[in-house]
Symmetry: C2
Subunit: 276 residues, 2 copies
Amino acid sequence: MTTSTSEQQSLLDARYQDGSAPRVSQWSPILESLLAHHSVRKYLPKALPGGTLELLVAAAQSAATSSNLQTWSVVAIEDPARKAMFAGLCNNQKHVADCPLFLIWLADLGRAACLGQERDAVIDAIDYSDIFLASIVDAALAAQNAVATAESLGLGSVYIGGIRNHIETVAAELKLPPMVTPVFGLCIGYPDPTETASVKPRLPQAAVLHHDVYSWPQQKPAIEAYDKTLKAYFDGQGMQTGGWTKSVISRLRGIEQLTGREGLKASFRKFGFKMK
Amino acid sequence: MTTSTSEQQSLLDARYQDGSAPRVSQWSPILESLLAHHSVRKYLPKALPGGTLELLVAAAQSAATSSNLQTWSVVAIEDPARKAMFAGLCNNQKHVADCPLFLIWLADLGRAACLGQERDAVIDAIDYSDIFLASIVDAALAAQNAVATAESLGLGSVYIGGIRNHIETVAAELKLPPMVTPVFGLCIGYPDPTETASVKPRLPQAAVLHHDVYSWPQQKPAIEAYDKTLKAYFDGQGMQTGGWTKSVISRLRGIEQLTGREGLKASFRKFGFKMK
């Protein structure tokens, strides 16, 4: 830990960019690294050191998992042609092809289903939404540990929700058995230093942190302030935007914003999730 | 970073306990801290330093969020009577009452819904399963950053899926508006050093890490080995178990294992999630 208190405060301030950041009261290298997160969409054509993938997976497996069911898996894609193919399925996101390691995180109830089947055991609970939700949460907790570890090793990353645009094709390419589904992709690699990505400000804490009960009124001034903060941030990057509220509404306007994902529920059913 | 390579290898080995751990090739304080994770279910009656909650939330907000929609919120419960009440709703898990800080993480599409309503805007995409899934993932990524930070500050934690046992009562207690739902709880506090919790072994990587395509055959020997590993682990803690496979099947046997959560989907619909 080599940063001074004022450098630490600067990291916190950068996460909000409106003077609302909490004060530095404690610190750790982990907090420092997490605060500095930004998504990386431009990668150097440089291979990862041998063993990196396995360390990322060890970190991922160290995350909590509901009832130790370990209902997730991950598929590593390193072959350039295969990465390019998945990039095409993810709305042609170039970084999916360019990153040295593309991970596809899976909610995996198939492992438990196979074990039940082999032993001719009744496992009726597997068909309920609660277990499906726990599986998605398991996958997300694991992936986030991998992201934190990657960044601590000097790597960058970006989550790829676009893996759900053509989820049935992706599942077929991965040869997924029943009750296994892709949840999101994740690019990992060395950030191209020419990329000018920076820490993006988030909503003031008043909008997301509640005490005792949820409050909408406390959020309203925080969101109004954030509309201005985010507009200033994008102005600084030469991008004209209308603030956060407009972008939220625009992103959620209609089915055409879902880029194919409006069929997600039907795909889940095809994969064998009953979601009772 | 004060650990030697052999100490680092020991941390990796402890996560698998079967000799299958990857070799140390790189290292970081973050990897070290994440590998050492174990859930803490016994807390000292000791308050957190002032400002801890806000630092945890700053770390949480630094996690990636789909399309910057920030579709999560968190409610902090610190009042002893209120913690005890939530403990009662979570199958009387004593640690929920005893920890100094109980966090309830929310998938929050209500913020976007309110913004749309106030502006009389059409936001039809909000009713689709893809956006609901993204909201759950958002909440999980955020919470895992908070967990990593808490542990780096000497605190312990445990996720509480039991918050979904009586999810409608919890939602009412939190005064949640439409399109906001609890996803999981999280206890945070100082671990009681008399608790003998230790790192729990996970499945060998061969069971969860796939290359190019998903493979069930590669998992089978890994799972058989893990049945023995986990049995030995619990034997060491004086607990008789039949191995992992049996525990998975037992956990998923029937609706009675869901402790009330079999109604989760109906509750989500009551909360206003259409899950199209």
